[in-house]
Symmetry: C2
Subunit: 138 residues, 2 copies
Amino acid sequence: MAQRTAEIIETLKAKRLRVTPQRFAVYANLLDRTDHPTAEQILTDLNQDGPISSQATIYNSLQALRQVGLVREVLLGEGVCRYDANVDPHHHFRCRCCGAIEDIPWQQLQNIDISQVRAGLQVDGYEVTVHGVCEDCQ
Amino acid sequence: MAQRTAEIIETLKAKRLRVTPQRFAVYANLLDRTDHPTAEQILTDLNQDGPISSQATIYNSLQALRQVGLVREVLLGEGVCRYDANVDPHHHFRCRCCGAIEDIPWQQLQNIDISQVRAGLQVDGYEVTVHGVCEDCQ
DNA sequence: CTTTGTGCAAACGATTTGCAGGATG
DNA sequence: CATCCTGCAAATCGTTTGCACAAAG
């Protein structure tokens, strides 16, 4: 576990979220992984050793966590939502072969001159999606 | 119409696509707009003055056009596919308010140093998604 | 006349929702 | 004990597919 149980509980409470076993499990699971799982993958993972949560509750938990900014959706054009407990801005690499997703630290692509976009548009942020082939698939 | 009928027919033939009224209409419609419509929007637009095509055929046509490289999918994290007859590389701006999508010319954000991504990844391409608020929504 | 496309309706996968019972603070 | 959450099943949304008929080359 990448973060202590008590710590996670505090984080949830600080966001005014009720601490239910299911919600805790979803967040703890996401903090533990960097592979941007889908809702289904989280469900499978949690229920590996006995039933912890159900489909609808996973979605509810993810939505609650997302609303308070503890979790973000990552959509990279596969027809599925992926989730990430790393809410700091960063970019993504996606392997077009196996679909694996990897974070690209923000600093690695920070030399982007956003001021060039047409006047009149209020820019809040941006992110780069890099596509290619990962080591395993080469 | 942004491009002559005969020209469109030639383009389709050059790609070895059979020229059906439906396929023609889908492609002509996409060439005519820059707003990256969804399949449903194309369907509605085409059938405005009498029935031209059906849902399944829109999807089939889009797939055929995509396979020969005349049309590309644009996925900007909304859970819908959008389509674009502009297949040259470019970036996208998306208004978080009304959902409008606008192209950003490739040159406007070309100062991106992709060489900084971690060694071992074979990079094929990338694109930037800029989010913000458009004029109409400000 | 062979091949490919069309349109309908049914199938599909991911996500959302209604609701009754249960847990949290 | 009031509020909010869970879990089930049914609903929904975008997209795909099977198939009989029709059109293109």
